[in-house]
């Protein structure tokens, strides 16, 4: 579904991605692990069209999207739930959802209904300003908003960041539900333990390169966690 080939993205002279290649197969939950500064968020933002890659290709169901602007990529069916869950703070929850469905002229009432059934707490807070929601609620709103554009591929950048353990559980049950509903998910997550429980396939990234790829069984969990947090030992 999504294949990335030799992707290079740089901030001025600093190359954040040094030739990243990976695959996300249709209907799978694919997870990306790695220490801070490995380039995970940069990769997400490059796929979502926020950052322009210097070279390399991103193919999404057979067509090249590397050079497209963010709004065109959303139109093609890729939605990103960004790091630190950007919501529209001075707009109500309902308006946030409307914004998410911006590209579809009409017929998103049933999407809103579906969002409210999936996230009942958002329904209670529909008329509230998004800025006044709790961290967990904002995370749910960010996910719900991304879903409003009916994406085929959902990119999630550290959804559990800064949330209480109980809320993290909720987030991961939602991820499992989305998967059951057929949404392909590409997840960047610090919480390696939780991620490995749901992922079908995972990649390890360090200093802008993919250093390992496999399915959860292929590497002992503690080895994965050690390399995810401490980076592979090149001593």
């Amino acid at each position: 579904m999504l294949s990335v080939r030799e992707l290079v993205t740089a901030y001025g002279k600093i190359e954040a991605l040094r030739g990243v290649s990976l695959e996300v197969t249709q209907g799978s939950i694919t997870c990306l692990l790695g220490p801070n500064g490995a380039g995970k968020t940069t990769l997400m933002m490059t796929i979502a069209g926020i950052l322009k890659p210097r070279s390399g290709s991103i193919r999404f169901s057979e067509n090249e999207i590397a050079a497209l602007p963010a709004h065109a990529i959303v139109a093609r069916g890729i939605a990103l739930v960004p790091e630190n869950r950007l919501v529209f703070p001075s707009m109500t929850v309902l308006e946030n959802l409307h914004a998410g469905a911006y590209q579809r002229k009409n017929g998103f009432d049933d999407d809103i209904e579906r969002a409210f059934t999936r996230f009942p707490r958002l329904k209670e807070r529909a008329a509230q300003l998004a800025g006044t929601l709790s961290g967990g609620e904002q995370q749910m709103l960010a996910v719900a908003r991304a879903l409003m554009s009916r994406p085929k591929l959902l990119l999630m950048d550290e959804p559990s960041l800064g949330l209480a353990p109980l809320v993290v559980e909720e987030i991961f049950t939602i991820i499992a539900e989305l998967h059951r509903d057929g949404v392909t998910i590409f997840l960047v997550e610090q919480n390696a333990h939780m991620a490995l429980k749901v992922a079908h396939r995972f990649y390890l990234m360090e200093q802008g390169r993919v250093t390992f790829s496999g399915d959860p069984g292929s590497l002992a969990e503690d080895e994965v966690i050690r390399r995810a947090y401490l980076g592979s030992s090149k001593s």
Binding site: A48, G49, I50, P69, A70, H71, V74, A75, A79, L80, P82, L86, V87, F88, P89, S90, M91, E95, H98, A99, G100, Y102, Q103, K105, R145, A146, M148, S149
Partner: protein
């Protein structure tokens, strides 16, 4: 007491044009986080083009209004493409100085079109002022007030009840999140710039037709008054812009009456300076550019 009421009346009607200018500035500032120094000069070019059309063809007010609005929108879009679109990421100072350079350009263009220092412009309303009791109210000022109310009402409706409104408010709130929601921030910014220029064109037309004259000072005057009113009302909020415009009108009317004309501007600037220094809550002083 009568003077007080009369001044308040004059203040509110003068404030109406300031409010319109402030709304135009705030829309651009809201979406782009930049102050557009070329806003006034674009309005002046619009008014000058309408005057030129009037001198050549003697066209009626409605035609002149359309010409003024279209010319201002054209000038405004030119400014957006040259000064603001290329500087979306950072470089706020460059965008502002670029808009100043284009200000010079537009002003010279206008003086080339109509070199003389002052030109007549057909009156918005021929008859005399409305008299009720000791007070009088110029009909032109009333029309400007009504126009300001209409623009605010339409603006309110568009912003809070249409898809475009949601997109504009999203871009104002968080451009990155808007991009991720599939909103083409560049297109929205250009369209908002055009809407703001249209409001500017209307404002320019109303001002020159109520004064029945056009001078090159209109550019600098509207930029200064618009920014002053926008800042008084708290940067970036549309209701604030309207409140700021009316407040500026009232301050000027009263200080002119009680303290004399030379103090009119002084008091307005003093109040703005005091407000900025005191940083009241409604003036969200997030480091805005």
């Amino acid at each position: 007491m009568i003077d007080f009421v009369q001044n308040t009346l004059d203040g509110v009607t003068a404030g109406a044009s300031y409010a319109l200018l402030a709304v135009g500035f705030t829309l651009i500032f809201g979406v782009l986080r930049r102050a557009n120094l070329s806003y006034g000069p674009a309005i002046m070019l619009g008014a000058y083009t309408a005057t030129w059309v009037f001198l050549q063809t003697g066209a009626g007010l409605i035609v002149l209004l359309v010409v003024a609005v279209l010319a201002t929108v054209l000038a405004g879009s030119y400014v957006e493409r040259l000064c603001f679109a290329p500087h979306r990421k950072g470089a706020a100072a460059a965008a502002m100085v670029a808009s100043f350079a284009i200000w010079m350009q537009l002003e010279e263009l206008a003086t080339l079109l109509l070199p003389r220092h002052l030109y007549a412009f057909p009156a918005l309303y021929e008859g005399g002022p409305l008299i009720f009791g000791p007070f009088f109210l110029r009909v032109e000022s009333l029309l400007i007030l009504l126009a300001a109310i209409a623009v605010c009402f339409v603006g309110w409706k568009v912003l809070y009840a249409t898809r475009f409104g949601i997109a504009v408010r999203a871009v104002i709130d968080d451009p990155r999140a808007a991009e991720l929601s599939g909103i083409d921030v560049g297109a929205v910014s250009l369209r908002v710039f055009a809407v703001s220029s249209a409001i500017g064109g209307l404002t320019g037309f109303l001002i020159v037709s109520s004064h029945e004259q056009v001078t090159p000072m209109l550019g600098m005057w509207s930029t200064l008054k618009g920014m002053l009113a926008m800042m008084l009302g708290g940067l970036g909020s549309l209701p604030g812009a309207i409140a700021g415009g009316l407040a500026l009108g009232l301050i000027e009317a009263h200080s002119q009456w009680y303290l004399g004309p030379q103090f009119r501007d002084f008091i307005a600037y003093l109040l703005l300076f005091a407000l900025l220094a005191a940083r009241p809550p409604w003036m969200n002083t997030r480091s805005a550019y």
